[in-house]
Subunit: 226 residues, 2 copies
């Protein structure tokens, strides 16, 4: 083994802005295996396309796409239940958890990463969750990741150490955009819109958070909007 051999880490990549910047961070220190999880969301085909173009950009060979669309069957979220409306507008401070929250979704995604990591010998698992400037989802809080990390350590083999990294958790969208530009992350390949796949809608909460971030950073968002 050469001295320059890096440890392996798994990066969870939805294909959005945050996961692209998270991926760029991970590549600084790790060899990366890329994981995408399809949970029956409305714009899955577009997200998957973004995932593969991001993986191509970083020349990542180890890719896994996993279907957890049983979450659609469980329901309880406008992101997977088309009979519920996706809220428009930005999340309000202190407001209830938005309808787009998919119950405990990120725990399912982390589980896939930990299982895969245990099999392929990964030492890290990166997720681009954002707490401060996010949508108020309970499974985007650092406290949740700390506790899940402890559970993952207790529930896997003694020599398995899949440490969970949340490099964006305390950042706001402005700093995420700026960090992405600094790391030369291919932001033009990302997709964030919750409802559209050709041109981003520009009005769902995900689009608005993204647009606000680019604007605050003084950077032009390179993807097309309606």
């Amino acid at each position: 083994m050469s001295d320059t051999k890096k440890d392996l880490a798994i990066v969870l990549a939805s294909g959005g802005l945050d996961s692209a910047v998270c991926l760029a961070e991970a590549t600084l220190q790790y060899d990366v295996a890329l994981l995408h999880v399809n949970y029956g969301q409305r714009t899955e085909a577009r997200e998957l396309h973004a995932f593969h173009t991001l993986a191509d950009h970083y020349e990542i060979k180890q890719r896994l796409v996993v279907d957890i669309s049983y979450l659609k069957e469980i329901g309880g979220s406008s992101l997977v239940d088309e009979s519920m409306a996706v809220e428009t507008g930005l999340p309000q401070d202190g407001a209830v958890v938005p309808s787009t929250y998919v119950p405990f979704r990120n725990a399912h995604i982390l589980c896939v990463g930990v299982s895969w990591g245990e099999v392929i010998g990964a030492r890290g698992l990166f997720i681009g969750a954002v707490e401060e400037d996010g949508s108020g989802y309970p499974d985007c809080r650092q406290d949740f990741y700390d506790k899940f990390s402890a559970a993952a350590d207790a529930g896997t083999k003694p020599d398995t150490k899949v440490l969970i990294h949340t490099p964006l958790i305390r950042m706001n969208k402005k700093s995420i955009v700026l960090r992405g530009v600094e790391l030369d992350a291919p932001l033009h390949l990302t997709w964030s819109c919750y409802t559209q796949s050709e041109k981003a809608c520009g009005v769902c909460e995900s689009c608005l958070l993204r647009l606000r971030g680019f604007e605050a950073a003084g950077v032009v968002d390179p993807i097309p909007y309606d």
Copy 2:
């Protein structure tokens, strides 16, 4: 709402001995919704049959069967990878984790239970995991359940409280059989064998643990063996 209205709990039921006794315990205090998870295991069709006959026995209407057979794609276990041999014989004290361990599997199953529980308003989630007299799987330890429970509380909405119950965790197979008999659990409807679906093989570790338990309890195992 009548005074006798019970809280709702989800019981995870593989269809085996342990989950049947766990289900019998849960029905003492809760209205039950029954959850079965298919993860690409060899004897899934037989397990699913056992699940439904158990649910029929307890007249449980709310049932959910979820497919997480992506675990088969991740591999790393003889229970889902048919190119690996299923060990025979009883687990040895201090031995390495057996090949039948499915990496972090129980965490995936708990996630499904917590998500469903958050949507249907369950206050409990029962799993028939056994630590002391089990197979040495890391995701069968009480420490793991305690830590996962904390993660579930942190990663769900403030008013969601899906408490994880592991009533069998400190029991050995003998006491599980005796408790099952005491609670009149329908042990004849259960299935534990890892490899066969018509008659149990009697030699895989799951069969041996089960048979040893019945023998120690002085109870005749009502299912057919080869």
